[in-house]
Point group: C2
Chain length 235, copies 2
DNA sequence: TGTACATCAGTGAACGCGCGTTCACTGATGTAC
DNA sequence: TGTACATCAGTGAACGCGCGTTCACTGATGTAC
């Protein structure tokens, strides 16, 4: 086994990818609860037991999909918030762009979004492997706040003084991810992230039916994101 | 068949209730995806086909549970926001109390909360019957805003001017539910509701793991609700 | 370069599970005369 | 008040479905000498 890839290795890589592809397709069509190894195998023209050469169980396949979804969502948000164009547009605009990217990805990949931000799949416990990719979105938002703070442009987050307990937690979190940031800004960032996720979830999970018209939802999210950015001290 | 209830009617009422009880228990323990007619029947010592005398299908049972969950959640929020004590405490405090009640109910009934605000159950379409009870929470929040407005205490909602499309939608919504309210206040109320739901969902669906400590979550929600109330123009 | 052996992918059958729903039936409760 | 009939609840068996996972197997690919 040298640098040149043998037939087995190549086949293994390609078939693993084909399984993931098919699983992603079924996830998109039916949702996680309906995803089955047998259906994936069937669609691929394999016998169901053959899939076990590539994934030791259904849960492992699910985990792979979760990691993939986190990464795709994280990438989309990072691209929107991290690019040169976004940086030039100002802090608040960067934050809004991140929120809009999040929504856009969620709306085009609803079941994958549900996988990472929806009701937990019954009987499935997210393993360690998913925690890294899962932090990309909040870290991308945090980066906007850090940049603003570093440039001296970060205003006071609204909401008044933090309660003691929340202050301590926020300080601990800041120590790990953004040591230069005051706990108020850290806490406000987490809250803003949570509210973005919440807003996006409302739309993706169909709770805006009869309340916010379908064509108005993008605008709705944008407006809400602007408010969140302002409350965060971004301008 | 007169005013006095016959044995059959009484039995029917009691057994229907027993089925709902058992279904609720299984929902709480396992989640909607795992709820099965057979399991309910088994636990009740009936044969599975007997349940069909009371509910024509699994979906009808689910619908009944959804209506019940909406009502219980709505009741909890109405109680918190509508009582005399809450009214005396001021508008913002009423709003915060509503948010806290929502969270408290969700945390103690996570699977029931998931039923109404989580990922849609695959293959299940919510029927008309659920839309009425589903509006109790937003209407309770709206009532706080209306009262404040009627008393001349409602400030300007933050976030600047509404985009045209959103303004029109908000006006239409206001025409139906709160004709005296300016569209800005209506839109802000919907946004605040969405953000509350989002915050509560984050906690209930386990996305605060490693970010907000378990004991800090109530405080976190309370603080966020205060901010939402302020942004809404409540004081 | 050729041969013996080890590794691995894929097959096909099977196990055991639980599900929603239907159906013909028995026996008890209610109703009309 | 008593009797014939209709209504209804609950039974037990069955249908047909799809699932995750295991296992002994065949045949192809890779490796060591």
């Amino acid at each position: 086994m040298g640098v040149i890839e043998g037939a087995r290795e190549r086949a293994r890589r390609e078939i693993t990818a084909a399984i993931m592809d098919q699983a992603r397709r079924q996830l998109a069509a039916e949702g996680a609860a309906r995803l089955s190894l047998r259906a994936v195998a069937r669609e691929l023209g394999m016998v169901s037991s053959a899939v076990y050469r590539y994934f030791p169980s259904r849960d492992e396949l699910l985990t792979a999909l979760i990691v993939e979804a986190y990464d795709a969502l994280g990438q989309a948000v990072e691209d929107a918030a991290g690019g040169a164009a976004a940086r030039e547009a100002g802090d608040a605009a960067r934050f809004v762009a991140a929120g809009r990217a999040m929504r856009a990805w969620a709306v085009t990949h609803p079941h994958e979004y549900a996988l990472v931000h929806g009701t937990p799949v019954p009987g499935y416990a997210a393993p360690q492997a998913t925690t890294g990719p899962g932090t990309r979105v909040p870290l991308a938002l945090l980066a906007v706040v850090r940049d603003a703070h570093a440039a001296g442009r970060l205003g006071e987050p609204s909401g008044g003084p933090l309660p003691a307990r929340a202050r301590r937690d926020a300080a601990a979190l800041a120590a790990e991810f953004a040591p230069e940031l005051p706990p108020e800004a850290m806490a406000a960032t987490v809250a803003a992230w949570a509210q973005l996720v919440g807003l996006v979830g409302m739309e993706v999970f169909g709770q805006f039916t009869g309340v916010v018209a379908a064509e108005a939802r993008e605008e709705f999210l944008t407006h809400a994101a602007h408010r969140l950015a302002a409350g965060l001290g971004l301008s």
